[in-house]
Symmetry: C2
Amino acid sequence: MNAIDFKITGVDANSRARRGKLITPHGVVQTPAFMPVGTKASVKALTPGHLEAAGTQILLSNTYHLHVRPGEDVIAEAGGLHSFMGWEKPILTDSGGFQVFSLAKLNKVDDAGVMFQSHVDGAKLFIGPKEATGIQEKLGADIIMAFDQCPPHDASRAEVEAATQRTIRWAGECRKHHSRNDQALFGIVQGGMFEDLRTACCRELSAMDFPGYAIGGVSVGEPKEDLHRIMEFTTPLLPEDKPRYLMGVGQPEDILVAVRAGVDLFDCVLPTRNARSGELYVAAGRMKIRNEKFKRDFTPVEKDCPCYLCSNFTRAYLRHLFISGELLAHTLATVHNVTFYHRLMSRLRAAIQSGRLGEEFGKKSGK
Amino acid sequence: MNAIDFKITGVDANSRARRGKLITPHGVVQTPAFMPVGTKASVKALTPGHLEAAGTQILLSNTYHLHVRPGEDVIAEAGGLHSFMGWEKPILTDSGGFQVFSLAKLNKVDDAGVMFQSHVDGAKLFIGPKEATGIQEKLGADIIMAFDQCPPHDASRAEVEAATQRTIRWAGECRKHHSRNDQALFGIVQGGMFEDLRTACCRELSAMDFPGYAIGGVSVGEPKEDLHRIMEFTTPLLPEDKPRYLMGVGQPEDILVAVRAGVDLFDCVLPTRNARSGELYVAAGRMKIRNEKFKRDFTPVEKDCPCYLCSNFTRAYLRHLFISGELLAHTLATVHNVTFYHRLMSRLRAAIQSGRLGEEFGKKSGK
C-alpha cells in the first residue's frame, strides 16, 4: 500500500507543465501547489482558519526546529503534528538537513550524520538519516523528506560532489529506516550547479524508487540564471509519474519557470516573510505598503482579490497598522500574500487544464 | 433627537446592579458590557472577525493616539473610524485627556488646554476641550468623551481640586462645541480619592445633562480599597437613567464590585495586554502559559470555553507558540482573554436578569 497516490490529470502541449492530484492520508492536493511555511508548527501570524480561507491545501513544517523545540516526543504525545497545530489537512516536513547546515554550530559531520549545537540553547544534538527519519515518523506528516547535505552555492566542485554522494547514501539509509506506511518519504536531489552531478544524483535516487522527489540545493543564494538553469535541467530527469517538489522556491516568476519545467510542489518563506516587512504581492509586482503615498489611499491592496484584507480594509489602514507597529498588520498582510500565491497556483492549474498556459502566462512574465 | 437611547431592563434586588440596553447608531449594546481596547484603531492581534466571534459588542479607541497618528483627517476621509478599521458595530473614543497627561511631554497646561509634544515624533501639539471634541467628531465614534484632566493618584488635595474644577469647565466647553447629533458626548467625573470632590463633580456634571457619565481618575495606581471605595461611592451619585462607564477597570473581581455598584460599561487593557505576555484568564484565576508544567498538557486552556483557542488547541501548543516567539501566540491568547471577559459580562447580565446575581456571584468572589 502506498501512503500517497499521484495522478497526472492534464499536461501542457507547449511545455513540460502538468496538472495533478496528490492523494495523501489527510486529503487531496491539487497540483501544481504552493505550501506555506510553518517552520515551528505555525505559519507566522496566521490561524489555521486564515490558511483555509486563503486556499492552503498543504503546508510545510520543519524537523530541525521541532526537534529542538518542543521536541518530537511532545508532538507525538499530542497525537502528531496535525493534531498539535490544529491543521487536519496534509503536511510535509522538511528533514532538517538544510537547517542543520545553515543554522546550527556544527561540531562534526561524518557519514553517520551531524553533531551540532542547537541555535536556541547550545545543546549538543545529533541528527543523521536514521534520526531524521525517526523524528519525522514521530511528527507524523503525510510527506517526509530524506536527510540531505546541502552545500552552499559557492562550494567547490569537490565539496558538492562529496555532499551529493553523502546525500545519496543518506537517502538509502532513510529509506531503510522508514517504516510508517501512512507517510511518503521523498528523496532529495543535490548536485549544486553541476549538471553532471545532478544527473548522477537523479539516476541514483530514481533507482531507489521513492514515491516523490525534491530538487534541493537551489535558492541558496545562487544567481537567478543558475536557479533557472538547474531547475529546468533537473526536473525532466526525475520520474515522470512521481510528484516533483522544488525546495525553497520562490518568487512568482520562478514558480512559473518551474511549473513549465514540470514541478508540482513548492514552498517558500517569501510570501510570509515579505508580508511581515510590509511587502504585498500584487499583480503589478510588490507594493511597499509603508510608503507615504498610501497614507490616504482608501482602495484595497488589490482590487479583485477576495482575501480578508482586500475585502475589508484599505491600503491606508494597513499602512497605519504597519507604521503604528500593530500586530494585526502582520496577520492581514500575510493573509493577502498567501492568498496571492494560492490564487497564482490556481490560475496556473486552470491554464494547464484548459491548454492555455502559454497564452495566459506568456513566455517570460510571472503575471 | 438623542444619538443614543438607554433602557434599563432589569435591576438586582440586593445590589444596585442593573441590566440595560444601550441603543447606538451602530447597534445595540447589552449592558453591563466590556469594551476591548483598540487604542490605535486595532485591538492588538485581533481581526474584527475574531472580535465578533469573541462576543464584542462595542470597542474603545483613543483620540490622542489617533490624532498623533494617522491624524483625524485621514480617518474622516476614510469615512470615519468604523469604516477605517472595518468595525461596523459601536465604538467609543476616549478623549485623550488621560494620554496627554500620562504619555506626552507637557509644555503648558492652562484653561484653554494642553500644549504638549507627541510621544512619537516630538511634534508640538495642542489639545483642549474644543480640539478634543473636534477630533472626536471627525473620528465619528458613537460615544465620545469630554476632555478631562486626570491627576495622578498621589496628587495633593489642592492639585486634585484644581484638576476637578478644570474638568468641569472643560466638560461645559465640550458640550458647547459638540455638534454631531449622531454621537453621544459623555461627561467624566474626576475628584481623585476625595469623596466631597467626587460629589461636587457629579452634581455639576449632572446639571449639564449629559447622555452618559464616566468615572475617571481611577485605575491610576491607587490601592485596591481606594478603587472600590471611590467607585462604590461615586456610581450612585450619577443619574439613574443614564449609562455609567467606569474607565480603565479592571480585573474581573473589580468589575463585579462595580456592576453591583451600578456600572454599565467597562474598558481595560488587561485582557489584551496580559494575553500578550502569556497570562490567560480562567475561572480559577490566571494561567501563566509559559510555565514548564504545560509542556505536555494536551487539554484546552479552559475546558468549557467556546473560544477559537480552547476549541482547537491545547495548553502545550499555546505554550510552544509563546516559547518559540510565534506571533500566533498573541492572537490565540487574546482571543481567549477577550472571550473570557465577554462571557463574564454575559453571565453577569443573565444573573441580574434572573435575580440570581447574589447566588451566582457570591458577595466577594469574581467568579
